[in-house]
C-alpha cells in the first residue's frame, strides 16, 4: 500500500501511522452530553468499503492527512491535507 502524500508524493505505508475514522467530530467541550461523548470516543461505523480516515506522515513531512480508502481492497482514491479539510469544514465548503 502506498499513500500519495500531497507534500511528499507516493510513499510506503510504513512511513505513516494511523489514527482511525475521520468522521467522528468531537462534541463541543462544556456543552457535550455523556451520550454524545460516548458515541464520539467509542462507537464506529466500521464499514466494509469506502472509509475516510486520518493518517500521520511521521517519517516524512509530519502532516496529518485525510485518506479515502476502501477497507476491502486497500485501494486509495483520495488524499488531502487534514488542515485543508478542517478549514473547509469551518467555512462550510467541501474539501
Amino acid at each position: 500500500m502506498r499513500i500519495r502524500c500531497p507534500h511528499c508524493g507516493p510513499r510506503d505505508n510504513g512511513e505513516f501511522s494511523y489514527l482511525g475514522d475521520a468522521a467522528p467530530i468531537r462534541p463541543d467541550g462544556m456543552e457535550a452530553q455523556p451520550v454524545a461523548m460516548h458515541d464520539y470516543v467509542y462507537l464506529r461505523d466500521n464499514p466494509a468499503g469506502p472509509h475516510r480516515e486520518l493518517w500521520y506522515h511521521g517519517a516524512g513531512c509530519r502532516s496529518w492527512l485525510v485518506v479515502d480508502r476502501d477497507t476491502r481492497t486497500h485501494e486509495i482514491t483520495g488524499v488531502s491535507s487534514a488542515r485543508d479539510v478542517a478549514l473547509s469544514r469551518r467555512t462550510g465548503e467541501v474539501a
Binding site: 510506503d12 494511523y18 475514522d21 467509542y42 462507537l43 464506529r44 461505523d45 466500521n46 476491502r72
Partner: protein, 416 residues
Amino acid sequence: MRYSLLSVLGQALRGQRDWKPQWRDAAPKAEYDAVIVGGGGHGLATAYYLAKEHGITNVAVLEKSHVGSGNVGRNTTIVRSNYGLAGNIPFYERSMKLWEGLEQDINYNAMVSQRGVLNLYHSDAQRDAYARRGNAMRMAGIDAELLDREGVRGIVPFIDFDNARFPVKGGLLQRRGGTVRHDAVAWGYARAASDRGVDIVQNCAVTGIRRENGRVVGVETSRGFIRARKVALSVAGSTSLLASMADLRLPIESHVLQAFVSEGVKPFIDTVMTFGAGHFYVSQSDKGGLVFGGDIDGYNSYAQRGNLATIEDVMEGGMALWPGLGRLRLLRHWGGIMDMSMDGSPIIDRTPIDGLYLNAGWCYGGFKATPAAGFCFAHLIARDTSHEDAAAYRLGRFATGHLIDEKGMGAQPNLH
C-alpha cells in the same frame, strides 16, 4: 463413531476406507430455538455447550463459507491464561481448564500441547509489570514463574541475550500455556455439536436480521428466511457488519493481523516465546515449521491480507531476538480480520434488541478463549444472564467507564 485406539487400528487394517464424515452437513430448517451466526471456533463451541450444558439442541450454526475458513483456521494457535485484570483472570483460567479436559470431553484429538508460554522482559519497568501480573495470576491460583536471565537461558539458549537495544533480562513463564491444533478445535466442536443434534449449515450467509415489535424473529440468509427465537452473533471480524443489520453501532474496528510459517526444520524451539518489545512471537508446529507473527497492521481492513511494512517489521523483530532465524525461508503468510474492541477486551452480552446476543471484540486473542467463550455465551443465551466468569464483558461498560484495558492504551483499537 467414537475414536479410540481400536478404531484407528481397525481402519489401518482396512486401508482407511470406512471413515465416516465427522458431522452432518445439514440443510437449514424453517425454524430453530436459537440460531448462531458464524461457524468459527466460538460459534461451534457455543452450540456444543448449549446442547451439553443446557439441553438446547434445536439449534443451527450458520456459516457463510465452510467451517474453519475464518480466524479459527488462521491463528497462531497460542493458548494461555496469563492476564492481570480482575475481569479477565477467571474467564481465561476457565478456558485453560476447559482446554485441559477438552479432548476427553469431545473425544477428539485437538493436540493440546502445554509447552509453556514465555514472555521476555528487557528492563526494570517491564520486570515490575510482569512481577505484578504473575502475582495477580498466582493469587487466583494460576501458575506463573518470574524467571531471571539464567532461567530464560535454560529454555531458549539460542536467542541474543546481549542485544544492544533490548537485552534479555528474564521472562514471565506460564508452563500450562502452549498451543492447540486450531482447525481440529473447529472440527472437534462441530462433530460434538452435530452429534448432539445441532445443525451445522455451511455456505449460508446471513444477510439480514428480521425484527418485529423490537424483537428478533429470525434471519434472512442466502438460503432463505430462518425463523428463530434467539439469534446469537459470533462472527469475529464481521461483527460490525452483522450489527449494522440490526441498526447497532459498536465499539469495534476491524483490523488485519498477519501470520507466517517457515519451511519445516528439525525441533528448534519447544516453547512459545514472545518478544513484546520487538513485536514478534514464535512457536514450532509439529510439522516443523516455525509459526510466528507480530502486531496487527494497524488500519481498518476487511481484506484478509496485509502489507509489506508489517512483514518487514515482524522479520526485523525476529532477527533482532533470534539471529539464527536468518537462514530460514518463509513458506507462507496470510491474514485474518480481527474484531478489535475499544479497550482490547471482549463483549459477551445481550444487545438492546430482545433476542439478539453478542459475542465479539476478541482482538488477536480469541482462539485461547474458544472453550470459555462458547461456555459463557451458551449460558447467556440459555439463561439471559451473564455467566459469573464473563460478568465483566458487558456492552455497556464503555458508557459507564468500566473498561478492561490490559494494556492501558485507551480507546485506540490499533494499539491494543
